[in-house]
């Protein structure tokens, strides 16, 4: 299956960061994914669409290691990561955000980011009394956290509690935490859900900016295709566990099969 590339952006289509090959996933007798193959080039923003129950979330769960496929492979940066534990996949640089934001609600924005810094000996509670055991890592983390806050446009909210943030800010906080944990490929589950159009555009602008400035690759599940399609490079459409269309967003959105899949439910 050849990718139909558009002459977009600087990312080269031959540098594939993530690839799934013929993923099959069944739940009992129900086939959730019937051989799905996608390719995500590095530094691209890829949109995954499809009506409810089409298998989008299942595919994400397979990629991030929460589910094991019956058949097929997940290749990340040339390595087979099929069936690897989720937290190891996270450490390899694939970070997902949740559809409903899961902030550390009683922590400040800055603390949320700092807590997302990759785990290490600086978090050992038995050595916590000795500041020397963690201060260096912490300084790096704080520097990085403020850089990310600036990139997200949230720098003024750094000392605010997560419980005081708006819906859109919480979505950005999720993205910020993923960046903090060293994400190379970020999988966002409905980043614009429940957010007003202006804010949704802001969120996608930030995503574009992060791609330009930090070279992050994005795989985005989003129902608000009208907004998302303006920002993405490539689109895959799923229906009943099968890939029914792919290509530049406008092409996919005008595809008869895609339109029918949404109308037919």
């Amino acid at each position: 299956m050849a990718l139909q590339m558009t002459e977009k952006e600087e990312g080269s289509a031959s540098d594939i960061i993530l690839e799934t090959r013929n993923i099959v996933k069944r739940f009992g007798g129900v086939v959730a994914l019937a051989g799905v193959s996608i390719k995500i080039p590095r530094r691209w923003i890829v949109l995954l669409i499809g009506p409810n129950g089409s298998g989008k979330t299942t595919l994400v769960n397979v990629i991030t290691g929460f589910l094991k496929p019956e058949e097929g492979k997940v290749i990340y940066e040339g390595r087979d990561i099929t069936g690897v534990e989720p937290h190891i996949i996270t450490r390899m640089g694939i970070v997902r955000t949740f559809q409903i934001p899961k902030p550390f609600i009683n922590l400040t924005v800055l603390e949320n980011l700092l807590a997302a810094y990759p785990p290490g000996p600086h978090e050992n509670p038995y050595k916590a009394v000795s500041k020397r055991s963690w201060v260096k890592t912490e300084e790096e983390a704080v520097e990085k956290a403020f850089d990310i806050l600036k990139a997200l446009g949230m720098e003024r909210a750094w000392d605010q509690k997560a419980s005081e943030l708006s819906g859109a800010e919480l979505k950005l906080l999720e993205v910020g935490r993923a960046l903090m944990s060293g994400a190379k490929l970020m999988i966002l589950d409905e980043p614009a859900a429940g957010v007003n159009p202006t804010k949704a555009h802001e969120i996608f602008s930030v995503i574009r900016k992060l791609r330009e400035e930090r070279g992050i690759t994005f795989l985005i599940i989003e129902h608000r295709i009208d907004i998302a399609s303006q920002y993405v490079d490539y689109t895959y459409a799923l229906h009943l566990g099968r890939l029914i269309s792919q290509g530049p967003p406008q092409k996919v959105l005008n595809d008869k099969a895609v339109i029918e899949s949404y109308i037919g439910g």
Binding site: F98, P103, N106, P125, V129
Partner: protein, 374 residues
């Protein structure tokens, strides 16, 4: 008059010190980590046993060589007699040994509390919320029963328990020395928990408490985080138990299963204090302990009988003894209900973990640098 006041002050300070240590241990588990430990008293009890049983045995082994009437077996077999001989004829004359034993007791109670906390953390990894609370409550009750009726642990009479070694008798003012000691330990514990709170590890406790799934998705090992909180919090409770047993104002010179495993004193009172102070708030717990210690525990525990007299309780057909009991229950109940209704975050709400002076970074990074003053 002055002397009376001094003793009163010592008693109050002792109460505040001990309740701070035991409550802050619970606060680490329940406030910072969100583990609803309803069996906190059992970790406290470990410290009491270290002093009443283990330290007494060690001291007896040393004393048996020089002091007539003291045998190692006598610590359990004729506890009151053996300890009263040691407390009058041995401990007052061996200050260095006494100090060594105090330090040993503190270290061992931390270790034993921590080990029991580690064991208790095993179910804590599989269960959540109220079910875990009920399980820990049940386990503490089971342990209480085991300790109550096992002669080699708590002596032959459950209600009397074991006399404790008077390890401050060499100072000739045990009460004052023990009070100072209690306050020093409490202050060290305060400094420790504040440093832990203001470290990446302390922040991680609170993060994993707020959202386990998010913490896991960020690659954190929630299992070890919960285990560590359980171990440290329980170790602090064990420490509190040892301090309790060493302080004559608190233990009254003895430890018994009925006192050191007391649910109301060492589980429910600490819960009330951390709710009043603010969950995950080390300073709030401190303030709550001081307020309650000065205004409630002191009159209730020590002078409720007089309060009943002043209020002419008996004229209303109320038994002054019963009234004393009632006061303590009423206070603890009212604190829990009123604070939860009016001030659910406590008197000093949870505050951020300040690992570094964040404002400095914020000024450099976020806001434009201040214009230079000419």
């Amino acid at each position: 008059m002055m002397a009376n006041f001094a003793v009163l002050a010592e008693q109050i300070l002792s109460f505040i010190g001990i309740y701070y240590i035991v409550s802050i241990g619970l606060n680490l588990k329940a406030g910072h980590m969100g583990i609803p430990d309803f069996g906190h008293a059992m970790f406290f009890a470990m410290g009491g046993i270290v002093v009443g049983n283990i330290v007494a045995h060690i001291a007896a082994a040393v004393a048996a060589k020089s002091v007539p009437g003291v045998t190692v077996a006598g610590v359990i077999a004729s506890n009151t007699k053996t300890l009263s001989i040691m407390n009058t004829k041995f401990f007052p004359y061996h200050p260095l040994l006494d100090i060594g034993l105090v330090i040993f007791a503190l270290v061992l109670s931390l270790i034993l509390g921590g080990i029991l906390g580690w064991i208790a953390s095993l179910p804590a990894l599989r269960l959540r919320g109220e079910f875990l609370a009920i399980l820990l409550l049940t386990v503490a009750e089971g342990l209480r029963v085991i300790f109550t009726y096992t002669k080699s642990l708590m002596g032959s009479t459950p209600t009397v328990g074991l006399s404790t070694p008077a390890l401050f008798s060499w100072t000739h003012n045990s009460g004052l020395a023990a009070t100072i000691f209690t306050i020093i330990v409490a202050l060290i514990v305060y400094v420790y928990v504040e440093r832990l709170h203001n470290s990446p590890a302390g922040r991680l406790f609170r993060a994993a408490r707020d959202d386990e799934d998010a913490a896991k998705a960020l690659g954190k090992n929630v299992v070890t985080i919960r285990r560590d909180a359980m171990i440290i919090g329980s170790a602090l409770a064990g420490l509190a138990g040892a301090v309790y047993a060493l302080n004559p104002f608190l233990g009254g010179g003895s430890v018994a299963a009925v006192s050191i495993f007391n649910r109301v004193w060492w589980t429910f009172w600490p819960w009330a204090l951390i709710i009043l102070g603010g969950m995950a708030s080390n300073r709030g717990t401190g303030l709550a302990t001081i307020i309650v210690g000065v205004s409630l525990i002191w009159p209730v525990r020590l002078y409720s009988f007089k309060v009943a007299q002043v209020l002419h309780a008996s004229a209303l057909g109320i038994n002054p003894d019963q009234f004393a009991n009632a006061l303590e229950y009423a206070f603890i109940g009212l604190i829990i209900l009123i604070v939860q209704a009016v001030l659910p975050r406590g008197i000093i709400p949870e505050y951020p973990s300040r690992t570094l002076p964040f404002e400095k970074y914020a000024r450099g990074k976020v806001l434009p640098p201040k214009p230079k003053e000419e």
